[in-house]
Amino acid sequence: MQTIPELMEVSAEEKVINTLKEKYGEEVLHIESPYNFLTITLKKERILEIIEYLYNHAETGFKYLTSIGGVHYPELNQIAVVYQLHNLVTNQRVRLKIYLAEENPVTDTITSVFAGANWMERETYDFYGVNFKGHPNLKRILNVDDMIIFPMRKEYPLEDQTREDKNDTMFGR
């Protein structure tokens, strides 16, 4: 059967990409789809604007924030912040990634768009030390308040350092 290009349905992923590129084409660094999960790497500066745009635009309508998380890439000296957005009407999902400098990771808070980002950003701060500018209450959420490290960064060991009864020969530490 012959397909007529004009009538071909544009895939949901392409719709998202086209909508984003329409206004923020220069911000997009990389697009991939690992395990069929559309992942867009963006420049870090205008992330708040872009998320707000994707929230309001009729084509995308990402009105639900699934999660915010961090990734530490010690070989790049960078910390990535990962946003997962969800359009609950079309069941379309997207992952947005921005990379911040390891020594001073700063980005804007998105609590003005999603109130639910409040705790997620606190968690990302707690574990990776990402500073969300404009966050109403940026303090540790899961770890003890007097912790002085950001434990998910690779330079800090996983194990508790106060134990004396476990050593490398016996426990492979």
């Binding site: 003890v144 490290i149 996983l158 508790d160 134990r163």
Partner: protein, 188 residues
């Protein structure tokens, strides 16, 4: 008049009568032994259950293993009325101050039973967020090993606590040694 001797050993005994003198219509023994016997058979535990050891404890309290046989069926969910703090499960560092506060709220005399590998040493959770044994913040009387321990082991721990309760001197909690021991944990 006949002298009755009953050597206190840990374990289940049918004969609970302490050492003393007995004749027609009377029995004489020391106050300490009577108090010890009474306390031993009416320990009110406070279950501080945070994970799978807590599930084993529920089995221990159930009809099959029935901790009530040892006089400990009355759980106290207020630390102020509890005699025995049973810590069962992983204690995160963030929970540490809470556990310590619970211990401090308990009235003397008080005992602590650490159930399972996590409460005793951090267990498999050799990580920055987990307290590596509750004995870093509160004194522990008996440790029960296991991951998780079976109800029989928990009962064994309770029996060992009972032995401590029964044989403890009435003056121990007023002694300078005891206060010094608490001070090493920063507890007044």
């Amino acid at each position: 008049m006949e002298r009755v001797e009953n050597v206190t050993k840990p374990g289940v005994r049918m004969d609970e009568k302490p050492d003393g003198y007995e004749g027609l219509g009377f029995f004489a023994t020391s106050l300490e032994k009577v108090v010890g016997m009474a306390r031993k058979n009416s320990i009110w535990p406070l279950p501080f259950a945070t994970s799978c050891c807590g599930i084993e404890f529920m089995a221990t309290m159930g009809a099959h293993y029935d901790l009530a046989r040892f006089g400990s069926e009355r759980l106290s969910f207020s630390p102020r009325q509890a005699d025995l703090l049973m810590v069962m499960g992983t204690i995160a560092k963030k929970m540490g101050p809470v556990l310590r506060q619970v211990y401090e709220q308990m009235a003397e005399p008080r005992w602590v039973l650490s159930v399972g590998a996590c409460a005793s040493s951090g267990g498999i959770f050799d990580t920055y967020s987990v307290l590596q044994g509750i004995d870093r913040i509160i004194p522990v009387d008996v440790y029960v090993p296991g991951c998780p321990p079976r109800p029989e082991q928990i009962i064994d721990g309770i029996i060992k606590i009972q032995h401590l309760v029964e044989t403890e001197s009435l003056r121990r909690r007023d002694s300078p040694e005891y206060k010094a021991m608490l001070n090493t944990f920063g507890i007044e």
